[in-house]
Amino acid sequence: MTEHLLFVDIDEPGLNTLAVYERRGGYSALRRAFSMAPEAVLDELLASGVRGRGGAGFAMGKKVSFLPKGGMDKYLVCNADESEPGTFKDREIMQKNPHMLIEGLIIAAYAAGITRSFIYIRGEYAQQADILEAAVEEARRAGYIGERILGSDLSLSLWVHRGAGAYICGEETGLLDSLEGKRGNPRLKPPFPANQGLYQGPTLINNVETLATVPSILRLGGEAYAKLGTETSTGTKLVSVSGHVQRPGNYEIELGIPSREIIYGLAGGPPPGRSIKCWFPGGSSSPVLTADDLDVGYDFDSMAKAGSMLGSGAIIVVDDSTPILDVALKVAKFYRHESCGKCTPCREGTNWTVKMLERIGTGEATPMDIEIMASVQEHIIGNCLCVLGDAMAMPIGSMIAKFRGEFEATIEAARERYGLGVAATNGVLAAQGAH
């Protein structure tokens, strides 16, 4: 059985309240942190090797260490704009154990010398935001948020900020613009948020799960935490499994276990009589893998080596009853809708990819369209301010590469259906005496 750190007795009634959380030893990690120097807390985070749980997988301790030292206004923003299709793990934490997030956030603020913090939660999570706000209020009344917390030198403000429905606001710089009250357009990097983020001040941005892991790191000690998982992907991770599986839901796993164990062992695999056609290992932005990749270890580096990514830890399983064209079209339409429109390759690339995919269904596409579509994806990647375009180009590109035969057959079948197929065309050419 996997070691559990985040999900321990998560369904205990009242865990979202301070009383139950404290009875279970809550906020003792914060007290331990306050008994240490901020630098020592940062050392624990560095030693833990914990990597960001939001998608990019950047080492959290390093991110904290990038913030300039000194007494200027520094900000911490918790990214709770969980919008990556297939991802619903942060929701579980915020709804059932919000104080774990708040405690982790305060410890991170202490390590980085931060005085103002915000939790940016997606607007659709209305119930979770209500629960989180109530928890923050309780923490404030108990003196965990405010001036000179628990007699330490740390003063910290914390507000819950509700988004209003935009995938792009999960991108860190888009989120910052949105938090500043603007349209959520991503910014040019550098400067990175650690130097110039919210209100142009140094800003630390971390995912909900990353911050919620911090109390466990303090409790176990960074080195002990690093013994969990693999050498380069330490710790436990929440995985959201959805799509064609029998037991969809959130599971806490130790990083590095075979993916098969998650998809079949925990989530029950596809319905009886069905087999896996493809699966997204890290949300709809990750390149798809196939049934051949089920034994790849579920950790950052193994996934990268297999040509995909761990992303947000959201596994979406697609069984053999689903045409790959349907999957590609759903994914492409999503990114077309969510593109902010600022960069041409993304705005036009997502739009034309959808149009080309739709042409397949109406029999207007030719096999050459596959080449054009593949080249469009290549021209999006790396050419925009943020990775939203890449997030479409990577899965679509992987579907074209891995299911080219099916795309070709679909194109041909649709052409036949509309009387435009090879046989019909040959007939016309023969009648014209062209060849």
């Binding site: 009634p13 206004d73 969980e82 299709p85 209305a126 959201s240 064609h244 839901g249």
Partner: protein, 211 residues
């Protein structure tokens, strides 16, 4: 109620074809003496502004508040927010039109978002949305939209009904769901996400009573 032009996937068609009236100057920051703002709305927006070092940050919470009061981000609502926040209505309109949850055209009292993204559609969300559309076709009170991933793929296919997540939904659930909505009752209590235990069998060391 005028029907809102929408893309097939549910989002509003922006008014790119609506010509701007070039004879008019852009509206300035409204004069407080000329704009009446409901007291509760004013104090809510002011409280939001106090949370941030920069008052513009309150734009989203303020628009949420105004939309609750007015039903949608009407020109009147934007004027009121602009008046309290000391910004131009155009600034707020630029923000409101960016985000899916702000309605810049009139809508019904109840919001039903049906998730039609990848995980839900694999579990039949497109059929569910089609049946939903038929069921509310004559009901101006219910605003139905297909929505991008709502972050509840564990209860796919699902819907958010006035902010309450319910699922997994079958076509047969639509009629009782709408009955609950129209009667102002708690929506399908047994199907609410908030009451669902975590799927991970290793998470809970004890049996806990259902919520």
């Amino acid at each position: 109620m005028s029907s809102v032009p929408r893309f097939e996937h549910g989002s509003r068609v922006p008014g790119w074809d609506d010509a701007a009236d070039l004879t008019k100057d852009p509206a300035e920051v409204p004069d407080p003496a000329l704009v009446a703002v409901p007291e509760a709305l004013r104090s809510e927006i002011e409280a939001e502004m106090a949370k941030y070092p920069e008052r513009h940050s309150a734009a989203l919470p303020a628009l949420h508040a105004a939309q609750r009061v007015h039903g949608w981000c009407s020109p009147e609502a934007l004027d009121q927010v602009a008046c309290v926040m000391r910004v131009t209505p155009a600034y707020l309109e630029s923000v409101a039109t960016f985000y899916d949850m702000f309605d810049t055209t009139p809508v019904g009292r109840h919001h039903v978002y049906v998730c039609t993204n990848i995980s839900c559609s694999l579990c039949g969300a497109d059929e569910l949305y089609a049946a939903f559309s038929e069921a509310v076709a004559d009901d101006a009170d219910v605003s139905l939209r297909s929505f991008e991933c709502l972050g509840a793929c564990d209860i796919a296919p699902m819907a958010s009904v006035d902010g309450v997540y319910v699922g997994p939904l079958a076509v047969a659930d639509i009629a009782p769901l709408l009955e609950d909505v129209r009667a102002g009752r708690d929506v399908l209590p047994d199907k609410q996400l908030i009451r669902r235990p975590v799927a991970d069998p290793g998470a809970n060391t004890r049996d806990f009573p259902a919520r």
